[in-house]
Symmetry: C2
Subunit: 415 residues, 2 copies
């Protein structure tokens, strides 16, 4: 696992225990793919009739498992998910495709389902061949022994440099039937918002067809996972999948088949909220971080422009290191706004660190006081708000600072 | 000057002494703008008839001096250049414009020239008002006492976090008359290729009209300064100016007035070579660097696409930290190629570290040997070559690694 820095200062004291989702069961194993003394293989089984939606990395060098998921997604159903950590099975050529085939075959046989009902994801080192034969024989037993009450164990098995498992749960009404949405995900480096950053798996007992489920996922990813960055580096393996078992139908939930159905309003809000929770958790476990930072951009030409400006800030090494150094260096915010390429009125630009206005309409604010600003920077959570003065749109990005520990972790990840 | 790490490992033992350029004189002073015990103000005077060309930052929050230079450039002539370090006079609103006005007025009076013949540049902290009244009174004496043989002193006066002055000189024939081109520039953080990165000043005695001079500068900047990055952060103040005194005309050089004139072939080559030399020097003094890295991309759809892919590599924090850690982590090269958004054939992608092929046609090379690759990474200069397998175009980018020292320098630049 390389050099692991100390736990994130945002690591929760206790991991929230998620309620079971009817129709979903988990198993984990120590397959010894790369790590020793920890789980690195996870399977989730789904009752027949489960629908699935997904979003994936936009990388031009997407991994073999991502290509398989994209293909299987067309059939809109799922019965098995197999995830390994320690090896991304990316840029592994024909051997990578063979490893996926072997895994999918073993899964389809174990779950007695079609190949296209098996979804796979891999995370870890890029370019090393994944020896699927080392773990394929375990899948059958795992499927048979899978249990519903094992979300935390599943979340732990897919971690790489994460310092804590990231889980969340929400409830929502569809009609008058309460459904549950659980999710977990992993970060923690090579994280940038380009579709569904990192690995994220979401499960619900709601009865929703694949197309409306996909529409919700695609919409919400923009303001959740795609509004979060650790280091601006887009993984080859980013995958976010939502599985809906539909078991709530047995409790009277009328299945939703139409995209944009008003019946999904509360579900949509709960799903968005859960995705936001998980995205924030990923940023709060960014490699080596000491601070969690929110950039809010207002007065932009469009929501897209606002987010692009916020991203230019959130991905600026020189600004992120200043934040790590607790330096209220708002000049670097100006630089980042300028380099974003989006419209901003230099003479109307205003910047706040927390509630403190540091710059107003193109120059240092009259009330600016270095000591007050420096005191604010000692906070563990920093909010930087920017009004670019050209329109009415706003957007935000969550990120973390860039520290010595980030360098230490990444200078020696493989050894 | 903040915390200065030790000198770059690429700092030359001796600074090359540049020959004088007829018609150009320099003076420097300790104005105490921010630094103590070092020069921070530089003026260069030019004989009447000097032509000028320039390229500037594309930042939307360009500094007041950049706006003034852009305006003055339209008149195509120059008699004075005034540069201060320690304060960028960027995002300083009306006070910033007033500071430029005061400086230009003092310069025009001292050099007895039009205001538009005065060029100004500032580098240092963003957002702090520049108190030009602290140094404007010095300009008159500096202009009067300027001397031709002071390139190194001038180059030192404009440094910020640079650990050595960056100077270069070339000679070329125009017709049968030899002309000289001298240049110097400064880095060393907030450096990314978006027009003329950083401050660079080039001087020649050649007689060349402003328009052909501008054409040469604009063309060459693409493959020199714009093919170099330290941290991907574009400054508000990037400025590159070329001054041609035309004094070689007295030695028989026929003045060149036409853009694209074949008479400038050797001059153009020498100018390109000098700009490349200076760009490499900037990358070799990138903040906190331990290694100088060249990314060469071949087999791309276009030269622009090749450079964009090389830039995605050169600006990737996770790849740059791996290089700092001497980890031959070519998987991160795959990631960076993928995130560039440019066309690449995953199954034809090949990567070399120096002469060592680490990946061939989409997977780890058969001859790959971790020990050999790790040994190569111990070199101070690293060349990573990538064939993306979709076309015939190539491009390159120079950069440095991302180290603990970069974090240290930037976490505490202002204090």
């Amino acid at each position: 696992m390389g050099k692991i820095a100390s736990r994130s200062p945002f690591a929760p004291d206790e991991i929230v225990q998620l309620p079971p989702i009817e129709g979903v069961r988990f198993a984990t194993a120590e397959a010894g793919i790369r790590y020793r003394g920890r789980t690195d293989l996870m399977v989730a089984t789904f009752d027949p009739g489960t629908t699935v939606a997904g979003v994936f990395t936009q990388s031009k060098t997407a991994s073999a498992p991502v290509l398989a998921c994209r293909k299987h997604l067309k059939k809109e159903t799922a019965q098995l998910l197999i995830v390994n950590s320690g090896n991304a099975n990316a840029f592994t050529g024909k051997r990578g495709r063979d490893a996926v085939d072997l895994t999918v075959d073993a899964g389809a046989k174990a779950a007695d389902c079609a190949r296209h009902d098996v979804f796979v994801a891999s995370t870890g080192v890029i370019g090393e061949p994944l020896e699927a034969e080392k773990f394929a024989h375990l899948i059958d037993g795992m499927v048979k022994n899978a249990e519903p009450d094992a979300f935390e164990a599943a979340a732990r098995a897919i971690m790489t440099t994460d310092t804590y498992p990231k889980v969340a749960s929400r409830r929502a009404l569809i009609g008058d039937v309460e459904v549950t949405i659980n999710g977990f995900c992993k970060g923690a480096g090579m994280i940038a918002p380009d579709m569904a950053t990192m690995l994220c798996f979401i499960f619900t007992d709601a009865a929703i067809a694949a197309k409306p489920l996909q529409a919700l996922l695609s919409a919400h990813v923009e303001t959740t996972f795609n509004a979060m960055t650790v280091d601006g580096d887009t993984s080859t393996s980013d995958t976010c999948l939502v599985f809906a078992t539909g078991t709530a139908a047995a409790r009277g939930q009328e299945p939703v088949t139409k995209t944009g159905s008003k019946k999904l309003k509360a579900f949509s809000a709960a799903l968005h909220n859960l995705m936001q929770d998980l995205a924030v958790q990923v940023a709060k476990d960014g490699e080596g971080l000491s601070k969690f930072v929110t950039f809010i951009v207002e007065g932009a030409e469009s929501a897209k422009a606002a987010r692009k400006i916020a991203l230019a800030c959130a991905n600026s090494p020189i600004l992120k290191t200043a934040i790590a150094g607790e330096d209220p260096n708002w000049g670097r915010v100006v630089m980042a706004v300028g380099k974003s390429g989006e419209a901003a009125d230099r003479d109307k630009l205003s910047i706040w660190f927390g509630d403190l206005c540091v710059a107003r309409e193109g120059e240092r604010a009259a009330e600016y006081d270095e000591a007050t600003a420096a005191a604010y920077m000692k906070n563990r959570e920093i909010v930087i708000r920017i009004d670019v003065g050209v329109g009415d749109a706003s957007g935000h990005v969550w990120t973390c600072d860039l520290t010595h520990d980030y360098v230490s972790i990444n200078a020696d990840y493989r050894s």
